[in-house]
Amino acid sequence: MGIDRKDTELLTVTFDKGMPYEWSIGKYGSRFFQEIKEHKRFLGTRCPKCGRVLVPPRRICGPCFQELDELVELSDTGTIMAFSVVNYPFIDPATGIQRPIPYTYGYINIDGSDNIFSHIINETDANKIKVGMKVRAVFKESQEMEGNIQDIKHFEIIR
């Protein structure tokens, strides 16, 4: 008997299990989240060479290739530099739970810093948000905090 190759059903193989990771947050990142938990405030680092304050705090200023060790206390307020109301579903990679849509992704210049911090803004009506608006961070209750970026619930517009 010959082999019939005309009617081959094309098959696929599916894997749907995620790969687990345990990433170190590092010394500066750990301090950043501890400051949020203990004092509900942001920390940045200042470059001794170019003077830029970066948030979240980090060890090196890339352009200066300079080690940063000056921690700077920052405000919990900032300015919206850009935003997007997102209308497609997003699965939280840590929990596997889908975030309700729409939600608003914000690019925020934290007062006292020189770069942009990314987080969620709790306003999903695009007509009610404008670049340049002031926002304030809303934190979880300290006892609910887990030492990650979701310890900041969102930013709210200061009206």
């Binding site: 193989v13 990433w23 170190s24 947050i25 060890r59």
Partner: protein
């Protein structure tokens, strides 16, 4: 080939878990130390090669996250996804291609992902992954083929573990310096027959960096240049079953090419020290055979005769080798660094006296699918 040299080198200490350090920290440490070693500033670095793997780092296009820590801001930067010996090969090509210097930086943290899942993922998803094949079980198959073919014994392999862990006692960067006996290895937990726990390399975190320079730029470095006399890499079939696992033909080909470039006719008498990629004990005799240090099947006896110990005729892995620290991707670059330190005479307590010519070796892919062979020299 134009004259090119390794003029800077550095490595971190290797540890099971560097909890306090992110990739950025390890890369910054070895980048600055390699430049200090050469007495170079960032202006002396013409381009950068990073070495990373997305599954290991748990990040897509993992190279993009680490460039600044490697001093690559505003520089030409490119990446190798594979062992650091191959990253260094690319770095050497860039110097030969016109850059005056190349910095090559490799990092990995075996502690952050699941090595069994990650190494399982290097296999074919249709035919092999669902079987559970990973770095250990595939190597157990290779060990089995090799030992069956030539009558290599588990005791002979155990001697490699005893030797390399003992050598590691003289290397401050090593993770597993140990005084153990053949009996300890033989009695250690069975992992995948014939491989036992003490036949295996550990899970490690760490980073390493080298700077390669052309002849003109090498003169500006503080260090004695370690010349790249010959280098080659060759690759074999992807499916294990399409290869003869006891006959590493890609290593044979790469060695022959590297020897021809370096003018080496009798490697056993012309090479002073070897640093090779011993992820498992059986790999040391098998790779020595592939390198033509001895005939096929003679690797076990070579070990038994004590030829490869510190004061033997041809010391192999005086650093303690990969068995004593296995930061994946970094490990091949470390072999090059250790070979260079031997020729510089800066290998500290594991120095091989008067080493002038060294062989360094890295592998990529399951069971040494591809091999990269380096011949380094003092002149």
């Amino acid at each position: 080939m134009d004259k090119i040299a390794i003029v800077g080198a550095s490595q971190t200490k290797y540890e099971r878990r560097k909890k306090g350090e992110i990739f950025y920290d390890m890369i910054y440490e070895v980048t600055t130390k390699a430049m200090e070693d050469a007495d170079y500033t960032l202006e002396d670095i013409d381009n950068v090669i990073t070495v990373s793997n997305d599954f290991l780092d748990g990040r897509t296009i993992s190279c993009m996250a680490v460039q600044e820590a490697a001093g690559a801001h505003d520089k030409n930067v490119s990446t190798i996804e594979g062992d650091g010996a191959f990253g260094a090969f690319y770095g050497a090509m860039r110097v030969l291609g016109g850059f005056g210097t190349t910095l090559v930086v490799a990092h990995s943290k075996g502690s952050e992902g699941d090595p069994k899942i990650i190494t399982n993922a290097m296999f074919d998803p249709i035919y092999h992954r669902l079987l559970g094949l990973d770095a250990i079980s595939s190597s157990a198959l290779q060990a089995s083929v090799y030992m069956e073919r030539y009558g290599i014994t588990e005791q002979q392999c155990a001697l490699v573990s005893v030797k390399n862990h003992k050598n590691a006692k003289n290397n401050p960067y090593a993770q597993l310096p140990m005084d153990i006996t053949v009996d300890d290895v033989m009695r250690s937990k069975k992992i995948a027959d014939p491989i036992k726990l003490l036949d295996c390399s550990p899970i490690s975190d760490g980073a390493a960096a080298i700077i390669i320079a052309n002849e003109k730029r090498a003169k500006k470095a503080r260090t004695k240049p370690i010349w790249i006399k010959g280098v080659a890499h060759c690759s074999d079939a992807y499916f294990l079953g399409d290869r003869d696992l006891a006959d590493p033909i890609s290593l044979k080909d790469a060695s022959k090419k590297a020897y021809a470039m370096a003018g080496i006719k009798d490697p056993m008498s012309e090479i002073d020290v070897v640093e090779l990629y011993d992820a498992f004990t059986y790999m040391e005799p098998l790779w020595l055979e592939g390198m033509g240090i001895c005939d096929a099947g003679q690797g076990g006896q070579l070990i038994e005769k004590g030829i490869t110990v510190m004061d033997g005729k041809l010391p192999v892995n005086p650093s303690g080798g990969v068995l004593s620290a296995h930061p994946v991707l970094v490990a091949g670059l470390v072999r090059i660094i250790e070979a260079a330190l031997q020729i510089r005479g800066e290998a500290g307590d594991h120095q091989i006296k008067g080493a002038k010519t060294a062989l360094a070796h890295g592998i990529n892919g399951p069971c040494g699918q591809s091999h990269c062979v380096w011949i380094l020299g003092s002149k």
